[in-house]
């Protein structure tokens, strides 16, 4: 989906952009809700972390990106992949561990990647991504492509030394990088208000010589605007920015999490601030978009996901011949 973004994107979103944003957010939501259901059947192996509720972040940021640009993701990576243009069908196959998955079934949910799309991978290591983004941003800078690197990471990852080092290095090298701290309130069962010894993650920006911004993560328009400004600055050589996106996740830390550490935040969030609902309310009616068109997109996506699951379930699994390949390029 990325790469097909209208040129005007830096400015206020056109209706075409809005439809693209809606389609992306809906695809992520439908994908995650469906993975949640499929996981319950016991047919999806391993650890799965869902992004539902956080769609506006990946979407609002990645709408500004194209093929020059790179992103690094986290264990909660499905949304970032979809927003950066990775094929949901190949993703679903990967999550089911099939040979025609985007990583041929060798990576799984925590390692979905598509380097051709500038998507450096979900990451099983909290804080694994930010250093890598310093490198992709450095490459873009040296190659003068105008590309930027975006590191998505969580509130928990904001306490990982690798993340903090990367903030400093990006500023020292004046890299075209953007750091998006997705503060969903928890690292596993631990509250970010406790684990982050500052009022906001964004308060750390100052100590690393970059601007820090806080946005409502349920509001696509807020994320889109803040990200646009940061990405433009980065492209123009203005250096890195730290954006803190605040919201909550709709499901447990991973599938199977009983979530006894939580109160009713999710119910409230779903009812009052769901990003898709808010987006619809704003763009339809006076917003100028026809609700029917959005419903049409919903239907298309539902079909897409049905197809993806059917294909994944029917897909063949990798076999003995695949076990020892792909370790090295030359042996």
């Amino acid at each position: 989906m990325a790469g097909t973004v209208p040129a005007d994107i830096a400015g206020a979103p056109t209706s075409e952009t809005l439809l693209h944003a809606y389609r992306t957010m809906r695809t992520i939501r439908a994908f995650e809700d469906r993975v949640h259901e499929e996981f319950a059947t016991g047919d999806i192996p391993g650890f799965v972390h869902l992004y539902a509720g956080e769609e506006a972040s990946a979407t609002g940021v990645c709408l500004h990106l194209d093929d020059r640009d790179t992103i690094a993701s986290t264990h909660r990576g499905h949304g970032h992949c979809i927003a950066k243009g990775v094929d949901p069908v190949g993703m679903m196959a990967e999550i089911f561990g099939r040979r025609d998955g985007v990583c041929h079934g060798k990576g799984g949910s925590m390692h979905i990647a598509d380097l051709g799309k500038g998507m450096l991978g979900a990451n099983g290591i909290v804080g694994g991504g930010p250093p890598l983004i310093c490198g992709t941003a450095l490459a873009a800078k040296l190659q003068r492509t105008g590309g930027v690197g975006v590191a998505f990471f969580g509130d928990g990852a904001s306490n990982q030394g690798t993340t903090l080092e990367a903030l400093n290095l990006a500023a020292v090298w004046n890299l075209p990088a953007v750091f998006v701290a997705e503060n969903n309130g928890y690292a596993e069962a631990t509250a970010s208000t406790w684990s982050v010894a500052a009022d906001n993650i964004a308060d750390r920006a100052d100590g690393f010589g970059m601007p820090g911004v806080i946005v409502d993560g349920f509001d696509f328009f807020a994320v889109h605007e803040a990200a646009g400004a940061a990405i433009d600055r980065a492209r123009e050589g203005g250096g890195p920015t730290l954006i803190e996106v605040k919201f909550t996740r709709y499901y447990g830390h991973f599938e199977g999490d009983q979530q006894t550490y939580r109160a009713d935040e999710v119910a409230r969030a779903r009812a009052e601030s769901d990003c898709l609902e808010r987006f619809r309310a704003r763009v339809t009616g006076d917003g100028g978009l026809d609700a029917a068109r959005l419903d049409g997109i919903d239907a298309e996506i539902a079909a897409l996901i049905d197809g993806a699951v059917a294909k994944a379930r029917a897909g063949e699994k990798p076999g003995p011949a695949d076990l020892e390949t792909d370790v090295y390029i030359r042996y």
């Binding site: 990576g107 290591i125 006894t260 935040e265 076990l323 020892e324």
Partner: protein, 337 residues
Amino acid sequence: MARTISYREAVNEALAQEMARDERVIVMGEDNSGGTGAPGEDDAWGGALGVTKGLHTRFPDRVLDTPISESAFVGAAIGAATRGMRPVAELMFIDFMGVCFDQIYNQAAKFRYMFGGKAVTPVVIRTMYGAGLRAAAQHSQALYPMFTHIPGLKVVLPSSPYDAKGLLVQAIRDDDPVIFCEHKAMYDTTGDVPEEAYTIPFGEANVAREGGDATIVAFGRMVTVALEAAAALARDGVECEVIDPRTTSPLDADTILESVENTGRLVVVDEATPRCGMAADIAALAARDAFGSLRAPVQTVTAPHTPVPFADTLEDLYVPDAQAVVNAVKAATGWKR
């Protein structure tokens, strides 16, 4: 009085009993309680797989949740150990050693030597290792050979609930830094475990099965696999001695060498990757110190030299199984000059 409990319960019980016995014992790690700072329950997780569940409720001041800052909290456990505490830090998955390894091998492991024998650092680092949960390349590694490589560390690989409890109690009472490696696919394994606390000394192998035709040395979860293979081979009249060293460092070389002197054949089974791993380590020991008794090539059964794959079909091929061990033993017993 022994009763049947799980490997998970055995670890939990060892922690609870040692905390009750010695208030210097503290437990720390990501969500070892769970729910800190959150509106809902405390003790909500007890670690990612529930191993420390209930400890925070019993010992609220001595079970500490941590930010995701392994260098800081593992280092904190080490620092606290130098000041009279007996910390048990949980490095959730051994795969994460890479973000805090310095504190373990350059700090804890070296203090005593660098400081001329004056440091005492009784820290235990509990960590989950191993494949089988479809957790893919960054959550399924063995990696204990790298800890074994480091002088100053003791490395423990319990292969049963009984060993898990006795070795963990020993680890907590031991005055040296200990890396305690729990196999994540064994937590629901059950076995007889005494209620009271007991210790199993480090550096004393368990001869899990006796036999005179071949010696099988296996580590952690591979002990079960080796025993399975030995049972199958016994049906064909091949009697294997199965040795579980229990600790890779210190290593009970004597028990291994005596067995090899008796059987003349050695098969080493290790879930880790082959290069510079435990299989090589034990094979080298025999080739150096039991060569005169060896009557066949030392066979090694390990994971391949690849990351751990995600797909169940591949992961099942990745982890050594009983058939592979049977084949290795037959290769040894069938070998002719």
